[in-house]
């Protein structure tokens, strides 16, 4: 047996791969071989560490030294200095803020300090393409325990006791959902994993599939055992090639081990798993549309009842959960429901993964216990607002969620508290906005998304979102009236109350919450024809401040529409009616003599 004295973990998630992790991995292998260290140092490509913005991330064990923004050219230094000579490379460590020295270890970094990783426990810690590493961490133990010593009803009881609720956004109690499907009549049942993650800014499901695919497989098998299903589908969007590749590999290896297939571990339980690649339509995240897509029909929702638990895929009883929900199941069955229920709030148990993006210092993936406040997530874990600007709002729950403000920062995060404020937990997207973000523009952005993604089956969603978008465009162009605002609000309520599926029912949320918390911004656009954040280009005006102007002519030379006439002697003026508000003159002026208002 070969013992490796040191393990070099290199993040191979999508984020780090796009910032050059593949080259770093290659460079490590080459450099270690050159120094004949390849038999004592193991290179391990892992899944996402969460701190994507500092990627590519490299962690060197046994010390656990955390290096960020590593490039292929840094590798010889790490190998020579750290791995060979035992001198960790200071300059590549995470820099604490202010006077804090470089922080060499994971646990010291504030980003990880408040996190509690269950669904992400193995992400960034094991090689997702090596099933033995998953097994070494206790993987498939829960499955073995369930099929050899528990009845299906006992598995459901554990999940019920855990208080786990659907992590895809709905928040329906998972154990209860399972008991419906388990009770349904039918000799053929299915379980489905919804991996059609499509919210702008959300990537937790992708990261789990990439970093720890076996946890999802094991979770689905436990669900299959509990509900009497022998077949499962993972519905994953084709835009996630790496996740699909890792999942395919994981399924093949699990089949090779006999962990997937017939009579698993010599029991009467059999389970087969398939992947269905979706074309990436947002509406296919809705369960009835998703099943339609698997069946080969166009992805459109249908009215419920019948619920999938009674009549789902091809008319058979079916249970659908999302990736993060499934990934929690093995640990719940393994450690017991009470263990999980000890974390979180009274009604929202356990942890939740959030994708932290937008104007925050540390973007990335964080898993926190329920009940943590938004302030802790954004300021303690996320490090606060980029460039130390002023916090304005946080959009939570993606295009179906809402914008919350400063006054909500100390609200403990739970399904109930967020719904009460007009937002939703959603799948866990957190987009942070600062003073430069216009809230009307933000509402428009999300509505543009849902309007495009509306499947068109029901009128309120198809026509309603379109008209809401037209009204928002009118307002951001400074042509809106007070009647438009009233109409927008009326339409929002109509679309919310009368749409067929969750997409339409939640699409107005960004508009409704911004109207509720930022009405004065809408009024500024309509009454004063002004965008307070300076984001709506149609309402901007660029002028040259003559006392600061040095008459250099750089603005005139760079203007793409030639609307800055003048010469070096008499100076320059912007012709407002011809100006397209591209901002080029503003950026190019070396003297800051152009004002944007």
């Amino acid at each position: 047996m070969t013992i490796f004295r040191s393990h070099v973990l290199i993040c191979g998630g999508t984020g780090c791969t796009s910032s050059g992790a593949a080259e770093v991995i290659g460079s490590f292998k080459q450099e270690l071989a050159r120094r004949k260290l390849d038999e004592e140092v193991l290179v391990v490509p892992t899944g996402c560490h969460g701190m994507c913005e500092m990627g590519p991330i490299v962690v060197v064990y046994p010390e656990g030294t955390f290096y960020c923004k590593v490039t292929a050219s840094d590798v010889p230094e790490i190998v020579e200095e750290h791995i060979y000579k035992g001198r960790p490379v200071q300059r590549l460590m995470y820099e604490g803020s202010g006077d804090m020295p470089a922080l060499p270890h994971y646990k010291d970094i504030p980003f990880y300090g408040k996190q509690h990783r269950i669904a992400l426990a193995n992400c960034g810690y094991i090689n997702p393409e090596n099933i033995d590493e998953y097994i070494a961490r206790g993987g498939y133990e829960a499955l073995g325990k369930a099929i050899t010593s528990m009845t299906p009803a006992q598995v459901i009881d554990e999940v019920k006791a855990s208080g786990l609720r659907g992590r895809g956004g709905g928040g329906f109690p998972t154990g209860l959902k399972w008991s419906f499907c388990a009770a349904a009549q039918g000799d053929k049942k299915y379980v489905i994993c919804n991996a059609d993650e499509g919210d702008p800014g959300a990537f937790m499901d992708r990261s789990i599939l990439e970093g720890d695919p076996h946890s999802v497989i094991e979770g689905m098998m436990l669900g299959g055992y509990a509900m009497g299903a022998d077949e499962g589908y993972v519905y994953c969007r084709a835009e996630y090639p790496l996740a699909i590749e890792r999942l395919k590999h994981a399924i093949a290896v699990a089949e090779g081990y006999g962990l997937l297939g017939n009579n698993i571990m010599n029991s009467s339980f059999s389970f087969h798993l398939h992947i269905k690649e979706g074309a990436g339509a947002f509406v296919c995240g809705e369960e009835t549309a998703l099943m339609g897509s698997i069946e080969g029909r166009r992805g459109m929702p249908r009215p419920r009842p019948p619920f999938p638990a009674n009549s789902g895929l091809w008319g058979h009883p079916t249970n659908i959960n999302n990736v993060e929900t499934w990934a929690n199941v093995p640990q719940i069955v393994g450690n017991g429901g009470e263990w999980y229920a000890a974390m979180g709030t009274e009604k929202s148990k356990g942890t939740k993964v959030f994708a932290l993006t937008g104007k925050v210092k540390h973007t990335g993936l964080v898993e926190v216990p329920m009940g943590i406040t938004l302030r802790e997530i954004i300021f303690d874990i996320g490090g606060g607002i980029l460039d130390d600007k002023k916090f304005k709002a946080v959009q939570i729950g993606g295009p179906s969620g809402g914008c919350l403000t400063e006054e909500h920062l100390d609200t403990p995060v739970s399904y109930e508290s967020l719904t009460a404020l007009g937002a939703i937990m959603g799948s866990g997207g957190l987009v942070v906005m600062d003073e430069d973000n216009c809230m009307v523009d933000v509402a428009k952005f999300f509505l543009e998304f849902t309007q495009k993604e509306s499947c068109g089956k029901c009128v309120p969603c198809r026509e309603g979102t379109k008209h809401m978008l037209l009204l928002l465009e009118k307002i951001t162009e400074g042509k809106g009236t007070m009647e438009d605002l009233a109409m927008l609000e009326e339409l929002a309520h109509m679309v919310r109350d009368m749409s067929l599926c969750g997409l339409g029912q939640t699409a107005p949320n960004p508009v409704l919450t911004t109207l509720r918390y930022f009405k004065e911004e809408y009024l500024a656009h309509i009454v004063d024809k002004r965008c307070p954040a300076g984001a709506c280009t149609a309402l901007l005006e660029y002028t040259i401040l003559q006392d600061l102007c040095k008459k250099c002519g750089i603005c005139a030379k760079n203007c793409p529409v030639h609307c800055i006439p003048g010469d070096r002697k008499s100076g320059y003026l912007i012709e407002t009616d011809k100006c397209i508000r591209c901002g080029t003159c503003f950026e190019k002026c070396p003297f800051g003599a152009i004002e944007k208002k």
Partner: protein
Amino acid sequence: MEQKKVTSLQDLRAIREKSKDLSSARSGGETTVIVGMGTCGIAAGAREILNEVMSELARRNLDNIAVQTTGCIGMCQDEPLLDVIRSGRRVTYGRVKPEDVPTIIAEHVVNGRVVEKLAIGRAD
């Protein structure tokens, strides 16, 4: 794919046991062995010591030992230096020769008996 099928919980646990090393280097191990690999250490033969440590651990199938390297600590005259941290106590061995390594591992790392004739310092 050439591999044995997992047909029972015992099979699964056997794989878990066999793969322990895959994550034990990451969890830090129960006992730590540190070899001084500064320029002085390398010049005095620390590389051979490190190789010997690794092959001795492999020979004895010890997969819960973390092996680290460290830079020069200023005791260049006593290199190669080898430290053992066991139950929170750190013992430094000096002028270690490759043939001393099996003794240190057998006596100290495995059985917890400090090899007095080679020990030059302690820190609790």
